[in-house]
């Protein structure tokens, strides 16, 4: 056992850091540093830069453009990206549909989709949740009825992240309403968002941003060749997708970046007549968050190492642990930043100045200090960390079923 980094790992960290510093567009860096969500073009541009280098798809098998990186190197890469305020690659492409196509796709599907998925020439979104099917995902009702060589899809998806940016959606649909168990009547379809009959309606989040959507399907015709894996076996695909390497889910680097940010902010933030971190109460708060981050860092490495050893493709129940603890850390570090900025975090500066989701920041001069503009946004959006992708309550049920067996 060795918890210190090797010289090779330190060199790798420096290589990654230098690459990001040399290639991340300045405008993207500035927006991300201030806590604004990346724009679509920020993500596309950055993913293409990484893909050219062979780094966008490092998690994929090597024959599909993956890297032979150790668990530690993977973690170093993720952390450095987040610490450097680089946008995340589109996880629907890289962590979800890419590995699904590699595992389950037909040769034609692979040929058609894998390269553009890696390069973000296709922006994917995920059509899983429905209004009546959140935690109980398998009860989903969106139907797909076979009509010749097409399925006709009708129904509604909700909480579809970035559907308004997406070129394609991968969706779970019900192909057999009579199945013995709800899980057994579901299929996994790839659907072009330009197909007639699809409507996207925005859902504005409590931070004022447009991230989620409702997607309506009204007699949408989908070629049978766009079904992944067997009919009525879509649940197996979904389970693979959700259990597939999810270590990135802890977003540990983001939390660690905030613990750096607080040190930079402190001199600007007055507390009892002195810089914020002169206050022992505040320093203890930072220190206890750092302890939690450290523990999670090591646990994450252990989970990645274990998952890389086993090749059966089965989800590791400990990814639930990473999701729970990583989500909590994200919530609590973003709360730390908001609390630090305090009263100046409360105005909706960005909304008033129409800066949110804009490609360029040039508008009226900002009112407050630049760090205040989006200090509450990540806190508000992070409430979803314990809801989206399986609530914390559901994650604990998974741990119970798989590990505790109570």
């Amino acid at each position: 056992m060795e918890l210190r980094f090797t010289e090779e790992e330190i060199a790798f960290r420096q290589e990654v850091r230098a690459f990001i510093r040399g290639n991340l567009p300045a405008k993207t860096l500035e927006r991300m540093r201030l806590g604004y969500p990346p724009t679509k073009s920020d993500v596309v541009t950055w993913q293409r830069i990484l893909n050219k280098k062979g780094w966008a798809t490092y998690k994929w098998p090597q024959e599909y453009g993956g890297q032979a990186w150790s668990p530690t190197m993977r973690m170093i890469f993720q952390d450095e990206n987040m610490l450097a305020h680089a946008p995340e690659v589109n996880s629907f492409n890289i962590t979800m549909i890419g590995p699904v196509l590699i595992q389950f796709g037909t040769p034609e599907q692979k040929e058609r989709f894998i390269a553009p998925t890696a390069n973000l020439d296709i922006w994917w979104c995920q059509g899983f949740s429905e209004p009546g099917s959140g935690s109980d995902l398998a009860s989903l009702k969106t139907s797909a009825v076979l009509d010749g060589d097409h399925y006709v899809v009708n129904g509604q998806k909700i909480w579809t992240s970035t559907a308004h940016h997406a070129d394609w959606i991968f969706a779970l649909v019900r192909t057999n309403p009579q199945a013995r168990k709800p899980q057994e009547g579901i299929s996994f379809l790839l659907i072009d968002m330009k197909t007639p009959g699809i409507t996207v309606r925005p859902i504005i989040s409590i931070d004022g941003s447009h991230h989620f959507n409702e997607v309506f399907f009204d007699d949408v015709r989908v070629p049978v060749t766009q079904r992944v894996y067997e009919e009525n076996k879509g649940w197996d695909v979904a389970k693979f997708l959700l259990g597939n390497e999810r270590t990135g889910i802890a977003r540990l680097g983001k939390s660690m970046a905030r613990l750096e940010d607080i040190r930079e902010l402190s001199p600007h933030l007055r507390n009892h007549g002195a810089p914020l971190l002169d206050d022992k109460l505040q320093r203890e708060r930072v220190a206890s968050l750092e302890i939690r981050a450290k523990a999670l860092e090591i646990t994450q490495l252990r989970v990645v190492a274990k998952m890389m050893q086993q090749s059966d493709g089965k989800p590791d129940p400990f990814s639930s642990l990473l999701k729970i603890k990583g989500g909590e850390l994200g919530q609590d570090t973003s709360e730390l930043i908001m609390d630090a900025v305090g009263p100046l975090a409360m105005p909706q500066w960005a909304k008033e100045l129409d800066l949110l989701n804009r490609e360029s920041g040039e508008n009226e001069p900002p009112i407050g200090p630049d760090y205040a503009g989006f200090a509450a946004g990540p806190y508000l959006m992070h409430r979803a960390s314990s809801i989206a992708g399986g609530t914390t309550e559901i994650q604990k049920n998974i741990l119970n079923k798989a590990v505790l067996r109570l």
């Binding site: 859902i203 989040s205 007549g273 409360m346 105005p347």
Partner: protein, 378 residues
């Protein structure tokens, strides 16, 4: 000790609740927020008709001679309905400043106009560099003949964009962090040199950044004693904390009620999610926190008129911590138990969550007041 309401208070409570039930459904509120000024003039006039705008002022100025408990009741009701009109800014903050510091002429002129709804006030004390430190004032007032010239900037002035008159704190002496040397001025918002940039807060209420550039005032603009305003600033802030704490309790109560309804009606895995014991326990914890917060809001209300400044300050800090921590717990969990729908702009629970967030970050968050209290331990 008596927790019973008087007959008058019960009547007041009923009429406020009825008005809001009729006119302040969530969709109606959305309409008020979307209007140009961000709140409803019509509702403002209704509050005046009901006597709410004169609640804490003596009868000789047209008020109703009520106290902090009356304000508490109204604010709780406002919290339940997420009221966005400038009541806190005008009646509680600005009104308290006039009540505590005004001379007869100032009270006689201003208070009746608050009562009848024709004058709105803004409490322009906070500054960008100050965070929560009440003494951290860089705005200056220098003598100009018999009058004064103000220079500086004020930050996150609640409803500062619509106020007709601002109560501005400025340094007439002392250094940046000194309690001594602070003075309050009454500044009509249309005075040359006053510039305002209004914006929405995270919870949809309005506020403004205000810059003061060579703002010339006559000697009659001084509110209270020159150089001796710190005690007033503290009292106004504490009245604000007590009122906003009550509003927070109302918001928490409503968010909890909504959550219980959701637990009863949202079906997953073939049964209401409220049948899960883990969620029942969470809802029970929330109930406990709502009631603990209510107790602390009562403490704050009872302390507003306490003459012993140290006792008042200590207890209001305790209430600020208690309501702040409970409020975070209740509203964060309200969002959690609702799941995705709690994350949306179109659903009320996220608005309660943000209203309570704004309370927590007004006049010192829980950590700030805990720090003040910790210094007194031992």
């Amino acid at each position: 000790m008596d927790f019973e309401l008087t007959e008058d208070q019960r009547l007041l409570n009923d009429s406020v609740s009825r008005l809001l039930a009729d006119r302040y459904a969530f969709d109606a509120r959305r309409g008020y927020i979307k209007s140009a000024q961000g709140w409803s003039q019509e509702m403002w006039e209704k509050y005046a008709e009901l006597g709410l705008l004169g609640l804490p002022f003596p009868e000789e100025y047209g008020g109703f001679g009520g106290g902090a408990v009356d304000i508490m009741m109204v604010m709780e009701a406002f919290g339940r309905s997420l009221v966005v009109e400038p009541f806190l800014a005008t009646v509680v903050l600005g009104g308290s400043a006039i009540k505590y510091a005004g001379n007869e002429a100032q009270k006689g002129e201003i208070l009746p106009q608050i009562v009848d709804g024709s004058l709105k006030l803004g409490w322009a004390h906070g500054e960008q560099q100050a965070r929560y430190d009440l003494t951290d004032v860089l705005t200056t007032a220098t003598k100009d003949g018999s009058g004064w010239v103000l220079e500086g900037a004020k930050s996150v002035v609640l409803h500062g964009d619509c106020a007709d008159m601002l109560v501005v704190s400025a340094r007439t002496g002392g250094d940046r962090m000194d309690k001594e040397g602070l003075t309050l001025f009454l500044v009509p918002a249309n005075t040359p040199g006053v510039a305002r940039r209004g914006y929405a807060m995270r919870d949809g209420t309005r506020a403004a950044e205000i810059s003061l550039s060579t703002v010339k005032l006559g000697p009659e603009a001084v509110l209270g004693t020159v150089g001796d305003a710190y005690g007033i600033i503290e009292r106004v802030t504490q009245a604000g904390i007590a009122a906003f704490a009550a509003e927070t309790v109302g918001a928490c109560e409503a968010a909890h009620t909504m959550t219980l309804d959701y637990l009863r009606t949202r079906v997953q895995f073939g049964r209401p999610i409220g049948t899960n014991q883990v969620l029942q326990h969470k809802a029970a914890d929330m109930l406990i926190e709502v009631e603990q917060a209510r107790s602390m809001a009562m403490l704050a209300a009872m302390m507003v008129d306490e003459e012993d400044a140290a006792e008042r300050t200590r207890n209001i800090s305790m209430a600020k911590v208690g309501v702040g921590q409970s409020g975070r717990f209740v509203t964060q969990n309200s969002v959690q138990l609702h799941g995705g729908i709690g994350m949306t702009e179109e659903y009320a629970v996220g608005h309660y969550f943000r209203r309570v967030m704004v309370f927590e970050h007004s006049w010192g968050d829980s950590a700030y007041h805990l720090g003040l209290l910790a210094d007194q331990v031992g």
